[in-house]
Symmetry: C2
Subunit: 123 residues, 2 copies
DNA sequence: TTGTTTGTGGTAGAATATTACCACACTTGT
DNA sequence: ACAAGTGTGGTAATATTCTACCACAAACAA
């Protein structure tokens, strides 16, 4: 997820791994492993933000980027982690989905339904 | 969440903190902080499982217990963490809820709606 | 071949996070 | 007052995670 994303973003900029790391202030060896999912994404939010800036990500794109990093680390995004009410909904969400074999399309639909539900509840 | 849960479970068994820790093989000082949310819940799954067993939790109760521990640590439950398809839905879920002030009741409804949606999609 | 550039593996060191130890204050009971 | 039991604060020790360094192999070029 995060690994594929950062690699593809780097390649879009036509940068070699070393050049990219030079410009972004990262260690090439470590980053090579990050891009392959061997090492975890950086945990430091500052590093992630500078990466997002480097790639020109803003708004929703940037948020998704940060979320991907957290999720690949097996963590909750920081703003979710201290969103008390949202956290209360998460166990129910896990319960609903756990143990089911869902196709990717079904999952996408479910996610979209959630969004719509939310919009309806708050119109 | 986890902190309140374990404290209330211990009190239900009418155990002092020290007695409980003796029986469960935990350090009283650390556990005191865990019950107050100062120290994080144990990260070791084995420890959590033996706690669940000690409290007589099984099935859904046990899962919820494990989820609470992970969430209070700001982590995803391990089985969720490597549930690829579920992970794909999470960013959408975060996006849907982020930045909104939801009442607890609304959150509960949302969670319930998710459950129903899921059931419908798979009937 | 020789030199460069690319990505990668292994691992030591640093940085963090977790746990355990010890001493203390506060109660309660004798 | 004393003793025993309760929970807690501070911090040292430990364990874990993360990062950076170095050397290497493959591909490519001169």
């Amino acid at each position: 997820m995060f690994s594929e994303t950062v690699k593809s973003l780097r390649l879009q900029k036509r940068l070699t791994l070393r050049d990219f790391c030079d410009q972004a202030g990262l260690d090439p060896s470590n980053w090579s492993k990050v891009e392959r999912g061997i090492n975890p994404p950086p945990g430091d939010v500052g590093v992630l933000e500078s990466l997002a800036t480097f790639f020109g990500l803003t708004g929703a794109e940037k948020l998704a980027f940060m979320d991907q990093a957290a999720l690949q680390r097996g963590e909750l995004p920081p703003d979710v982690a201290d969103h008390v009410l949202l956290q209360k909904a998460l166990p129910a969400f896990f319960r609903a989905a756990r143990g089911h074999e869902l196709t990717e399309a079904e999952m996408t639909n479910l996610a979209e339904d959630i969004r719509k539900l939310h919009a309806r509840d708050h119109k």
